[in-house]
Symmetry: C2
Subunit: 236 residues, 2 copies
């Protein structure tokens, strides 16, 4: 890795999508779309650390350095791939219903899309979300919240809470799922049981099977939406 590279900093004046797209007359072998699609495929198969410029270039029948014409660096690649996942979420209908239902539908839809790509949760936690699809999400969520009566700081806070909860949950679920369940987790629960003095509550109330992530997610989602409902309209 090159020395002194600022951590995760886009090299241009902004994110990938805000930079002018390089295109000319010649029909190119590469395009941002093809690159993004291939990156997603590799990420799905080999995970975040399995995506290298050379491997990606190979998959595209091209040499590694050619990618740098379309993309500033590896981080750009990750941004593009992540926003592509956001693009998988079905757009909320323009004909909106009860705002609580819309929010809930959005949250479960986003969760499912992110879970389809196990690398996406950690990435969404680690990088700011400013791709076009992510902005579409923000737009529709805020629209629903405005309908609910939110405004000002409470509006921003509510939108952030929704997004953060979903992404945090998915990241946690994916990170646990990446680990071997039969060994690591068993070792952990055994440890908790044998240290019941230190963890009395954990030992007395063993967590319901972690495999039931969806139930937990929906539970927490209901907690959050209930809280939002209680303070809708009373904001400033």
């Amino acid at each position: 890795m090159s020395p002194k590279r600022a951590e995760q900093s886009p090299s241009g004046p902004g994110a990938v999508w805000l930079r002018e797209r390089r295109q000319g007359t010649r029909t190119p072998a590469l395009s941002i779309e093809r690159i993004t699609a291939a990156a997603v495929r590799i990420l799905d198969e080999d995970g975040q650390s399995g995506l290298s410029m050379r491997k990606l270039a190979d998959a595209l029948g091209v040499h590694a350095t050619s990618l740098y014409w379309h993309v500033a660096n590896r981080d750009d690649l990750l941004d593009l791939a992540l926003d592509a996942v956001f693009g998988e979420v079905e757009a909320p209908r323009k004909d909106p219903g009860l705002w609580q239902a819309d929010i809930a539908a959005y949250m479960t839809g986003l969760r499912e899309a992110l879970l389809r790509h196990p690398w996406a949760g950690a990435l969404a936690s680690a990088r700011p979300l400013m791709g076009p699809h992510a902005l579409d999400h923000a737009e529709s969520v805020q629209a629903a919240l405005v309908r609910a009566g939110f405004s000002g700081t409470a509006l921003t806070a509510a939108a952030a809470a929704i997004s953060n909860y979903v992404i945090g949950s998915v990241a946690a679920e994916a990170s646990w799922g990446r680990h071997d369940q039969s060994t690591a987790r068993r070792a952990l629960t055994d440890h908790v049981q044998s240290a019941a003095l230190r963890y009395p509550t954990l030992a007395a109330h063993p967590p319901t099977p972690y495999s039931d992530w969806q139930t937990h997610f929906e539970h927490g989602m209901r907690f959050l939406i209930a809280g939002l409902t209680a303070s809708a309209g009373t904001s400033g």
Copy 2:
């Protein structure tokens, strides 16, 4: 003579803390504590990608491969450093008060500790939390929730929601904070404004300054706790 200690190499099944600690008679130059402390220091200074085995070894006055006696790989290092950050959170008092207040205090305390180390949020999202300090947290949170009347699935879900919300928020805040505010973010808001047709709500309700993360966090926290309060005791 080939050493037959291959079976007790630190790359056993499970997380670092569950593996037997290698220690002998000789007073070692290295220890997990020293390694962890140095790792945290480097992470604080140079971020996650700035922590390399060689740099860490240098900081400890030792050669890179020596680290592998105490630690299986780089991921172990990150796990240790992350749990050290969790250890910075002041333990909730044993003499508990209103459970809502205890939960709120825990959440803000955890947030502050994680924010002190900008790399921690992304890491906590990406890796399962099973270090001793993380377990201490889980224990005290669940204890408060049990007092509140939660049990079974709702208990697990509530604990997960709390943790996921805090970690998700901190990760988002840290990821935005890592980026240059005066260029990238301005480019983004300009983009939203110029595309007001596509983002009518975002353009009409521009987010309150992102710099006010704490207010947003506390807002969302109140949403969540309100929701928890509403369904406390009504669980199965």
